[in-house]
Symmetry: C2
Subunit: 365 residues, 2 copies
């Protein structure tokens, strides 16, 4: 099947670019002496997770339990659930998952949650691996660094059915700081309390075998931290406009990783001053303040025009879009865009090489 | 099953409110002497479509062919595809669908498209019902009103395998004009060219058996147009914040239809000044400039905090969210929010009455 036969709108993956991204990140972490547990929330696709593991990753990080359930059932090892599992019914699902995949880990940030997980794991006869989730400025989850984190670590270590493995700190606020030098400064400042907490853990005899953090934006920054053991970068495997624009080390755009993900659309209506494509806000996420960008198609700029339409403003009158023309776009943000699709059309050049199920799509539960 | 046992985040439908919405719209169009073909792009759920038809609707409008394929296979009659079908492979799917569901209709706005559809339908031995899609100011699809529309209608009428049925004009720019009087003025001005085109169609001997248009926002405005035969309102069945705020006839909020759709989330992390819920931008669409609103839960305001998290700012310190607390939210925009979920948990009071598949989720192709 040729790429031009794929029904639109559709999500496409350029396999050559994707494979180079995996190889580059694998080489980077190997050279830095770190491990990699890439975030599967980017792709929600077991086949991508399997390829990341084949390229040397320890496993994958999952934003949610539901995502981890899908990955485990697809045989993906080394799962780390990076959001606290709080509801009693979810804790039962977690212990069941741990029974099937004993190396699964989950983060904790509250004493009540530690006690509840300890009881649930004991009741179900499993040992649950936990990391203390440390707040490093993202104002999302995490216990405060320093003594509160140590106290929580002690509590976790005391629970018979829990096995404390170390720490996590995700400084999401640093991931998209524009310019490499500024981003390095921000990430260093944010991660310093995590490193301090790591030292306190070690001094208290608590395990620091795993200290996890980092993003695609800080992949070549956080590896400078001696205490960090593994990176959680996710977007690097497919990339998006939001990451490209932050800049790389000595480059205006982040080009270490290639733009492997596109959405293909069809021009379904043309007028004198505009053309409409069949991809709107059900085809691209809208959470970034800039629109999708046409790929190698000068003369048009995209604007959202409702659930199912994008409006192309014609910026070069000598090249108006034709009715039926197919145009590809880079999405602003990969994770929530991928989450709109059931499958990924995987291309080697112009040929469809495979179709990969985005099996954990919608699994935010 | 009790509503508190549903894994979060999840999409909930209040059945009492939903049923009243269906009954109110059915009574409204009946009293106005109009027909109703509600837009299924709102819900993408065959069970909702069946209930709309059972309440008197002619069928449902579908934004895309893929949506219509799902509805047809679920036995929903009277499908109108409101986006032009342009790609050759899509036209083959359309003729196949028409073979299965002969009353299916599609809109056209370009001579090349009319000719291509005529050939495809003739080649596949079906008669394809078409409406001329007239541009009424939304700057989306549609041929210009007046003579260009008449010329296109003539061309469609000349195609042996096409059956011209009338006109469609969707004035999307009017749907959310704030305040009923201003909205009425805007819709009247926008729809006037459609009514003029209708008169020209009639004078030219072209069919005007169907003249379709309107939205939830203009449901009690567009019925004043003598030439309009059917309304396409969609959101009325579940409602959202965006429609509630536009105001009704003599009321500050649009309250004719009730807020039947919510997303339930769990508080998974608490801190002194905030609490995090497990519903972020994969749980709510982000295309509106205002956030989800907590339902009957004063003291907190929601802000997006990434793919999987929402940050509750505590506005009443006397009532901080508890870890594990479940909170429901009204989504800003129903259509793209529903499109994030595979199923709808249907509640009668606090009891789960049914689970309805959002079977056309993701079917923007």
């Amino acid at each position: 099947m040729h790429r031009d036969e794929i029904p639109t709108p559709a999500l496409l993956l350029d396999l050559d670019r994707f494979e180079r991204n995996l190889a580059r990140m694998a080489a980077h972490v190997r050279a830095a002496g770190k491990a990699l547990r890439p975030h599967a929330k980017t792709h929600r696709c077991p086949e991508i997770a399997r390829r990341q593991v084949a390229a040397g990753a320890l496993g994958v990080a999952c934003a949610k339990l539901g995502e981890a359930e899908v990955m485990a059932r697809a045989g993906v090892p080394g799962l780390l659930i990076t959001t606290e599992v709080v509801a009693p019914s979810a804790q039962r699902r977690l212990t069941r998952l741990t029974g099937e995949a004993p190396d699964t880990m989950v983060v904790v940030d509250h004493p009540d949650n530690v006690l509840a997980l300890g009881r649930a794991a004991a009741a179900d006869g499993v040992t649950l691996n936990v990391l203390v989730d440390v707040h490093v400025g993202a104002r999302r989850t995490g216990v405060e660094p320093g003594e509160p984190a140590v106290a929580l670590g002690r509590l976790a270590a005391e629970q018979r059915a829990l096995r404390l493995r170390g720490l996590q700190g995700y400084a999401g606020q640093c991931a998209h700081v524009m310019g490499w030098a500024a981003r390095r400064e921000a990430s260093r400042a944010a991660m310093e309390p995590l490193m301090d907490t790591r030292a306190r853990f070690a001094a208290a005899g608590l395990p620091v075998e795993i200290v996890a953090g980092g993003s695609t934006g800080t992949h070549d920054i956080d590896v400078e931290l001696a205490g960090l053991t593994e990176l959680q970068a996710g977007s690097y495997c497919v990339m998006d406009l939001d990451y490209r624009r932050i800049g790389g080390r000595g480059s205006e755009a982040l080009t270490t990783f290639e733009m492997a993900l596109t959405v293909v659309a069809t021009v379904v209506s043309v007028a004198a001053d505009r053309a409409m494509v069949d991809a709107g806000l059900k085809a691209f996420s809208t959470d970034k303040p800039f629109p999708p960008e046409a790929v190698e198609r000068p003369g048009v700029s995209y604007g959202f025009a409702g659930d199912e339409h994008g409006r192309l403003t014609i910026t070069d009158a000598s090249r108006p879009p034709r009715l039926g023309e197919r145009i590809e776009f880079f999405p602003p943000h990969c994770d929530p865009t991928v989450n709109l699709y059931d499958r990924l059309w995987v291309l080697r050049g112009d040929k469809v090489d495979a179709v990969w199920e985005i099996a954990a799509r919608g699994r935010s539960d």
